[in-house]
Each structure stands twice: as C-alpha cells, then as structure tokens.
Amino acid sequence: MTARTAPLADAARTPRHAETALRMETAELGMWVFIATEILFFGGLFFAYLYGRTHWPEGFAAAGRRTDVVLGTLNTAVLLTSSFAVALAVAAAEHDRRRWVARLLWLTAALGVVFLVIKGTEYRHEWSEHLFPGPGFALAATAGAELFFVLYFLTTGLHALHLTIGIVLMGAFAAGTEHASGWAHPPRLQVAALYWHFVDVVWIFLYPLLYLIVRHS
C-alpha cells in the first residue's frame, strides 16, 4: 500500500489533504479494507478445509498427525515474535527512536526469513515422506488425507507468498528508515505493520487447524 498519493504537490490548495492525521486515516482505512478482502481470500480456503474436516474426519486426523508439530510450533513462536518486533518498531517510530526502528524492522524481516527456512525444511521432510498429493501419496488408502495435504500446501504456500511480500516490505522500510528517506515515515510504517500482523493472524489459525488436529493417543 504505497500508493497513497492524493495530489500532495498542491497541498496548500487542499487543506484537507495536508493534515497528516487525515492521510493516516486514509491509509489505515485502506489497509483495513484490504485486510477484509484478504480475510475472504483465505476464508475460501478455510471454508474448503471446513468441508473436508467435517466430511473426512478420520482422513484429516490421520493426515494431521503427519505434520511436524515441533517445527510448526517453533514457527508459530517465530512469527508471534516477529509481530512483537514490528509492533515495537512502530512504537519506537512514534517516539522518534529511529535507530531502534531500523534494528527492529531488520529483526522482523530476519524472523520472517527464519520462518520461511523452517517451512522449507518441513516441505522437504514432507516431500521425502511422500506427503505431496499426487501419485505415490503415502496415505492414499485413507480417504480425505490427500485433501488435507492439498489444503495444507495451498494454505501454507499462499501464506508463505504473503510473508515473502511482507519481508520485502519490512526490509524496504528498514533501509528507508536507516537512510532517513522521506517516504518511510511513521504513519506509513504503521500501515505496513498492519499487513505483517494480518499475515501473523492467518498463521495463528493455521497452526491449530493444520498441526493440532489430533495429537493424543
């Protein structure tokens, strides 16, 4: 959301636009509307998951046991911490601690990269265990297990794509803050942070749905 550019060049003639508070509100509302869209975008996949889970409970349970709960939990912690870091960065920006802002944003981006690395490791394990849907799928005998893994890879894949965009965004803001670029001002950073938190929230729901279906017995 870097396109918030009303005709600022002519700010004197548009006092309404000149107010930072209003620009802030515009960008923030835009991001929240975008998040509403994203809720429905991921929502379609959650809906498909709901269908599968209610129709093939055994298949989903059997498949859910095969996901890597240790790495999944680790990744959840990584992502929650990254959200914490970016929230700190926003707070630091509001209080004019520019050095901290840059550091915290680099930390956020780095945690994002760690998340992707761990996720990649998981994918590698799943590949070697023949858990990719398709010929030779390990749980082919259990109805519904394949559907679970289809949704697993689609949701985590789309989530990883969103996270990658977030990492680039955070990296850009970190660099922008270090070089004191005009565009990386606090209100805009706050709006970018909203995006990062949203990606985190998606994962908060994916975690119990993909990793914690049935772990007992």
Partner: protein, 543 residues
C-alpha cells in the same frame, strides 16, 4: 485548463493519475469488449434462428456463449458503471480532487487490461467451452479448451475490481467536502459505495475459487472432484457466493444512476431519499444471503433450498421500494424527456419486469421447472441488459456534456433509446415464453416447435444491435462538431455540475461548498420558467 488539454501524448494518457482520464481509458476498453461480446451474441442469435445446428459446430457454439458470458460479465458489466462513471463523477460529486489512491486507480486499469487481454487471448487461441460459470468437474477434468488461461484472466480482472472497490470506499469515507454528511450524498455515491463493499468482500472468494479450479486442473487434487473426495456443490456454493452478489455489483450502480437522472428531469427531489439509501444498503447486504437460489435443483439439501428461497423473497423488497420511489418522484414533477430520462424510464420498466420474474424464480416449486431454461436467460438479461446497460447508456448521455464539454444530437439520442427499448423487448420477451415451454439454455440445436419464438428473438436482436450502434455515430459527430455544453446543461444540482465542462485537472478551481440539501430541485419554479418559454437547457447553477 481542462483535464483533456493536460497533455496530448499517448504517454500522458497511459501514465495519468487523473481519475477522469482513467475513466476515459476504461470507457474505451469497455466499449471494445462490449462490441466483441456483442458479436458473439449476434452469432448465437443467428445460429438459433433455425432449430438445426447448422451455422456453427456445437463446439464453436459452446465457445461462443462462453465468450459472450465471460466478456459481458467480467470485462463489461462489472467494470462498466463503477469503473467508468464511478471513476469520473464520484470524486466530483463529493467535491474531491481525486480518488484516495490515484496510483492504485491506474494500477486497477492496467490489471483490468492485462486480465482482459489474457481472456481475449484464450478466446482467439481456440476458446473456452465451460460456460461463464466454470462448473466442476466439467471445467476441471473434461473441458479440452483454454480454461487455465481464461481463469488467469478473470483472476487478474478480479484484483482490479478489488482495488477499485477499496479505492472508492476510502474515497467516500475520507474525501467528502467538509460539511457533506452521509445523508447529503447523492444516491449514486451511495450505490457506488455499496457496490464497492460487495466488490471487496465477494471478489476474493471468486479469486480463491478460481485458484482452486486451476490447481485442480493442474494437479488433479480433488477439492471439487468427487473422484478424490471433493464435492462439485462446494464449487457451486463458493462460485455463487461471489456471483450472486456480482449481480448486485452490476445493478446497484445502475439504480444509483437512475436516481440521479429521474429527479433531474422531473425537476423534483427524489421521493423517499433515506429509504432509497437504506434500500441500497439492504440490497447489498441481503444480496450476500441468497446465492443458494441458483442451486435449487443441484442436489443441495431441501432445508437449504427453503432457507435460500425465503431470503430471496426478502431481497426483492428493497428493489420494490426503489421502483415505487422512482415512480413517486415523477408525481407533481415538471418532466422533461431528454435522452437520459428516456433511458432511465426504460430502465425502470425493464428492471421491474426483470425483478418481478425474479420473484417467480424464487418460488421453489416453479423454479424446479424454470431453472436452466430460457426463462432464466431472459430474466437476467432483463436485469443486466435491460437494467444495467440501459442505465449505462443513460449515464453516458447524462454526463457526456460534462465529460467532453460537447452536446450531442438530442433527436438521435432519443431515437436510439426507443430503438433499444423496443429491440430489447422483442429479443428477450419471447424467451420467457420459450423458457416456460421448456427450452433449456445453452442449446445449440432445439426441437422445431420452439422456432417461432426464436425467430422473433433473433429479429429483435438485430433491432437491438442497431440501437447499440447508433450512439457510436452521434457521439462521434458530437466530438467532432458538437455544440459547446455549458457547465450545467441540464440544470442539475450535483456538485459535479458546479465546475466547468470538461472539468479542470484538479476538478474545482475553488473548493465547492457542501449543498444544504441533496436533490434540491423545484418543480414549481421550473414549470413557471417553462411557461414563460425558457429554453430546455437553461443554465441554472442553483436550481
């Protein structure tokens, strides 16, 4: 300096951030797509003039109706009024200098063009034969055509819709001229606002659904495929969750437009303004609850069918309110019959018929017979072509002087409106009868007893085609040597009429003041003026 004179190079147009220029870009593209989609419809009607499938092969026919549907729905109807007229007049109507995110607006147009070109590429490479509904498992595992390319095109166009909707929502919230409250907004703004909400909330579900269809086609994964544990009805639920509200994306802006035109030419404030606004919100929100009425015979549970049938009756109420209010607005007006008014009245009539037949379709017992027949085809054409396209032309004629600064031939415009109205009814009314007699839709050849009505329909289509081609001519003449239009040729009250025609790049030379009331027309004063023989296009800044 008008926005049209702000640079003449192609580059100045393709890199513009000006909402007015982007609207023009949309208008040009949309006109192209409309005539491509129309060409497909022409071939369909030609084929259906005889019962035997003799003009084109059945595969070609299937590709034709798919192309017609895909182009008309996603490349014409959905972006038509919001992206062209919403873009042009929404900021003007609320006294803003541009949309909230001008660069995003340009990006929307590029996404739209990119998606549109991909879709067209699929058509010219060999076409798609799934129908615009992409029903699984036909689209995922059986269709041997360019499904993936089309899906990609529609997917991208969807993102263009989402960004446009987002832009409009934020604009209406944050850029209204100071002092302009929610209940001082013109109803067109209300309608665009509600439409945007639908665009933002429903389109992502379409995007994810198309993504799943594409994934299923690529990897055979089985979300919608019964062979692997999926459910074809899951696709239908997700698809119609978007596509039913999409009908309201197409018709709500048309309602807003008509609510601008009718008071202006009746010289009277709109009847029941608040109720009109509530009705718009009601349609937009209840519209999300009725998608299951597309699935009455699909094998969904009877309970679900009953619930969706009930809700479908409820959603008809706000539409009825709107028709009553337009009619009541005419009462004690001082009515002028310029071309925009003829289109608007045509809209009210055709939308009423379309809406009432929708009521018939909402009745479960009757729908079991009528669904997937020409009755349904006719019903949604009454809403979308009789309704939305008619209103689109109404808007075009209403704001043409504002957009171009020129007047067009009023006589020819009225003739075109009448031809369109007659041609439309001749084309689609026989299809209601065909539907009740049981002619299924998407049939390339049909039993001979349906021929009489099909010939009528095809004949009507040729009249309709003339109606659609006429404006190309007189609008071109208007651009070439049309009379200069003043700032306010209709004597309308909206803020968009308080600036020059065509407007300057920054819309207003001095920031306009918020009007005290919306639609402040005065029929009595206008009638007195008329009695004294004042010309029809009296300039009156404050009517």
């Amino acid at each position: 300096m008008s926005y049209l004179d702000d640079g003449y190079t192609l580059r100045s147009w393709l890199t513009t951030h000006d909402h007015k220029r982007i609207a023009i870009l949309y208008a040009i593209a949309i006109t192209g797509f409309f005539f491509i989609g129309g060409a497909a419809a022409t071939l369909i009607r030609l084929e259906l003039a005889t019962p035997a499938g003799d003009l084109v092969s059945h595969d070609t026919y299937n590709k034709l109706f798919t192309a017609h549907g895909v182009i008309m729905v996603w490349l014409f109807l959905i972006p038509s009024i919001p992206s062209v007229m919403g873009n042009f007049v929404l900021p003007l109507m609320i006294g803003a200098r541009d949309l909230a995110f001008p660069r995003l607006n340009l990006l929307s147009w590029y996404l739209y063009m990119g998606g549109g070109i991909l879709t067209l590429a699929a058509l010219f490479l060999g076409g798609v034969d799934t129908g615009w509904t992409f029903y699984t498992p036909y689209s995922t595992m059986f269709s041997n055509s360019y499904v993936l390319l089309t899906l990609t095109g529609v997917f991208i166009v969807g993102f263009s819709s989402i960004l446009t909707g987002l832009n409009f929502i934020v604009t209406v919230h944050t850029l209204r001229v100071p002092g302009m409250g929610w209940f001082q907004l013109p109803l067109f703004v209300w309608a665009i606002y509600a439409t945007s909400a639908i665009l933002v909330l429903a389109t992502p579900v379409l995007a994810i659904t198309l993504l799943l269809v594409a994934a299923e086609r690529l990897f055979q994964i089985g979300v919608f495929d019964p062979a692997y544990g999926g459910d074809p009805l899951l696709f239908q639920h997700m698809f119609w969750f978007y596509s039913h509200p999409a009908v309201y994306i197409m018709v709500l802006p048309a309602m807003g437009l008509v609510s601008e035109i009718v008071p202006c030419f009746a010289r009277k404030r709109i009847f029941g303004y608040r109720f009109m606004a509530y009705a718009i919100l009601g349609i937009a929100s209840i519209g999300f609850l009725v998608w299951g009425h597309h699935m009455f015979v699909s094998g969904q549970s009877m309970t679900a069918s009953l619930v969706f049938s009930l809700l479908s009756f409820v959603v008809a109420v706000p539409s009825a309110i709107k028709v009553f209010n337009w009619t009541a607005t005419l009462y004690k007006g001082s009515i002028r019959f310029d071309a925009p008014m003829l289109y608007a009245l045509g809209f009210v009539g055709l939308f009423t018929i379309g809406g009432l037949t929708g009521l018939i379709l909402a009745a479960l017992a009757v729908d079991v017979h009528l669904t997937d027949t020409y009755f349904v085809v006719s019903h949604f054409h009454y809403i979308m072509v009789g309704g939305s396209v008619m209103a689109y032309f109404g808007g075009l004629h209403f704001w043409w002087p504002k957009v171009t600064g020129r007047l067009y031939s009023g006589v020819w415009a009225r003739i075109a409106a009448v031809i369109m109205f007659i041609g439309f009814n001749l084309t689609f009314f026989p299809q209601y009868v065909l539907g009740y007699q049981g002619m299924p839709r998407r049939y390339h050849a049909y039993p001979p007893e349906f021929q009489v009505l099909n010939i009528l329909s095809s004949a009507g289509a040729s009249v309709l085609a003339i109606g659609y081609l006429l404006p190309l001519v007189y609008f071109a003449v208007s651009l070439w040597r049309g009379e200069r239009a003043g700032a306010n040729p209709w004597g309308a009250t909206g803020l968009e009429w308080q600036t020059a025609s065509p407007p300057p790049t920054h819309n207003f030379d001095t920031e306009p003041a918020a009007p005290k009331t919306v639609y402040g027309y005065d029929a009595e004063a206008d009638a007195r003026l008329a009695a004294r023989g004042a010309p029809a296009s009296t300039e009156r800044a404050e009517a």
